[in-house]
């Protein structure tokens, strides 16, 4: 866990190879699941299934890709569960979330030191929004897996256990909508808003400046500055 994440020059390793691969296993499988799921969600979107190889193929592949997604999320859980724990720092951050959402990041009081340039509380490896996304995907993924298994093998559910089907046809789309909300915000934040975030999960590296801006406590932790400060 305590791998060296400080690279040459002004660079630090934000995501190692394992983290990047798993992120994209989860991300790409989610995109496929979302598209085929939307095709079954509404008749107006059924054309997506036609484009992706037909309804029958989509129905056959959707649960298999779902297993890839689930396996990725489980791997992520063991990989990130320590980083994703919600702490007191997150509760402080929550108080300043308005400033974060409104991008109030300019240096309001220039005479203050560099560390005071943000209006939101300092963040460790992940901020609370990222943590929420993770837990939404984790618990949503479990709900999708369990209801999905019932829908996958629906013809084998005995008539006396049909309540499982009735529950699953509600749980599956509700869990989908919740994860989709997280997904939309995640993609938006990761590509459009937080510049540098997308390349960090492709190549793994960020500059120290970027890390200090977005994840100061994490940077201090990996560079040993936090110990020096104490």
């Amino acid at each position: 866990m305590q791998e060296n994440r400080v690279l040459r020059g002004n660079r630090v390793l934000r995501y190692n190879f394992h983290e990047r691969v798993i992120h994209w296993c989860a991300g790409l499988s989610y995109v496929y699941l979302m598209l085929t799921g939307l095709a079954f969600w509404s008749p107006w979107l059924f054309w997506i299934a036609v484009v992706l190889g037909g309804g029958l193929a989509s129905r056959m592949l959707h649960p298999l890709v779902g297993l890839i997604f689930t396996a990725s999320v489980i791997d992520m859980y063991f990989m990130w569960k320590r980083d994703m724990r919600i702490t007191d720092l997150d509760r402080q951050w929550t108080k300043t979330i308005g400033a974060y959402v409104r991008n109030e990041e300019e240096e309001q009081i220039p005479e203050l030191a560099v560390r005071a340039w943000q209006k939101w509380a300092p963040v460790d490896r992940f901020n609370l929004g990222q943590k929420y996304l993770f837990w939404v995907m984790f618990w949503g993924g479990i709900a999708l897996l369990l209801s999905g298994l019932v829908l996958w093998f629906t013809e084998y559910i005995p008539w006396s256990f049909r309540f499982l089907r009735y529950i699953s046809v509600l749980v599956h789309p509700i869990a989908f909508l919740v994860t989709l909300g997280g997904f939309i915000i995640h993609v938006y934040m990761g590509t459009a808003v937080v510049r540098g975030g997308f390349t960090s999960v492709i190549r793994g590296e960020v500059s120290k400046t970027w890390a200090r801006h977005h994840h100061r406590l994490w940077l201090e932790r990996i560079t040993g500055q936090d110990a020096a400060r104490k």
Binding site: N10, A39, F40, W41, S42, P43, W44, F46, A49, G54, G55, L56, S58, R59, M60, V101, R102, N103, E105, E107, V114, W117, L151, T154, E155, W159, R162, R165, Y166, I167, V169, L170, P173, I174, L177, L180, G181, I184, I185, Y188, A192, V193, V194, R195, G196, S207, K208, T209, W210, R212, H213, H214
Partner: protein, 294 residues
């Protein structure tokens, strides 16, 4: 009852209006099953297998006349044998020919996501179109009668077609044709209702079946197959015929309010992020400002 009755009235998983909807006067067809004159000969089962050219499957011996516990993808018409103990301790058979009920409001069609995999013709027949079926099995969840069955090899769902191919040519379904006791009748819904009510009255007035009645459940808008029962207050006795069948509540919630709430949330999320970007823009880290600090 010509081919005109095969105009399509409802289509599963379909975006937009349905061409044949409500373009004709009353043309509903109906099958009447009088359980009180059924002798359990299974001629209807054989005729169904024969006409529809269905491959044979293994039967199951369970110490009764019951050949198999339920209908199958290749066995659409099954007589359910129920030994019933009367109040005086004597025994009687309650035999019911089980098959697709051809509901006016079909739960299978409501649940189906595949465009055109399930249609309802304007004569009321609910028919599966296997070439459009995607094998998801949602129809199995939507049906209150446990009728649609999946073919594990082709991953398509099958059930009784009410012999659309015969009906469209002006013939009665194969099961009706084969019935030796005349307990099966076929005609317009109006005529069959009349005949059924007449028979139920006869049973009440002359045969001592005071609870005799017609099974045409309103919870699914009425059905294209109606039963005359000795005791219409206890349809469950006839192999689990549901008393008040309807499309399952969760299927209704899923297909109606949840669709609209979900659509609003999805569109709201996309629009919301876009508006946020227009208003607040990106977070760009000023690379220069901290150079000396690194």
């Amino acid at each position: 009852m010509s081919q005109a009755t095969l105009r399509i009235q409802k289509i599963s998983g379909h975006a937009g209006s349905v061409p044949g909807e409500d373009t004709q006067r009353e043309s509903q067809v109906c099958k009447l099953v009088d359980t009180t004159t059924c002798i359990g000969c299974k001629a209807c089962e054989v005729a169904c297998m024969e006409w529809n050219d269905l491959p044979f499957g293994e039967t199951v011996f369970d110490n009764s006349y019951q050949t198999m516990p339920e209908t199958r993808w290749n066995y659409w018409n099954l007589i359910l044998f129920n030994e019933h103990v009367r109040e005086d301790g004597s025994l009687m058979w309650l035999m019911r020919k089980n098959q697709c009920m051809h509901c006016a409001e079909p739960g299978c069609l409501e649940a189906c996501p595949a465009d055109g995999a399930i249609v309802q013709y304007s004569n009321g027949i609910v028919d599966f179109q296997q070439d459009h079926c995607i094998g998801c099995g949602y129809c199995i969840t939507g049906c209150p009668f446990d009728i649609p069955k999946l073919n594990p090899k082709t991953k398509r769902v099958h059930k009784c077609t009410l012999c659309t191919d015969r009906v469209s040519e002006g013939l009665e379904p194969a099961c009706i044709k084969s019935c030796p006791t005349g307990c099966l009748h076929f005609g317009t819904k109006e005529d069959m209702k009349y005949l059924a009510e007449h028979r139920a009255k006869q049973l009440k007035d002359h045969s001592g079946y005071v609870n005799a009645g017609v099974y045409d459940p309103p919870g699914v808008g009425g059905t294209g197959v109606i039963y005359v029962l000795h005791d219409a207050t206890k349809p469950e006795l006839y192999g689990g015929l549901p008393k008040n069948p309807s499309i399952p509540l969760s299927v209704k919630l899923w297909k109606q309010p949840m669709k609209w709430i979900g659509n609003i949330l999805i569109i709201g999320g996309i629009v919301g992020t876009f508006v946020h970007y227009l208003r607040y823009g990106p977070k760009i880290v000023p690379e220069d400002s901290a150079k000396g600090d690194s």
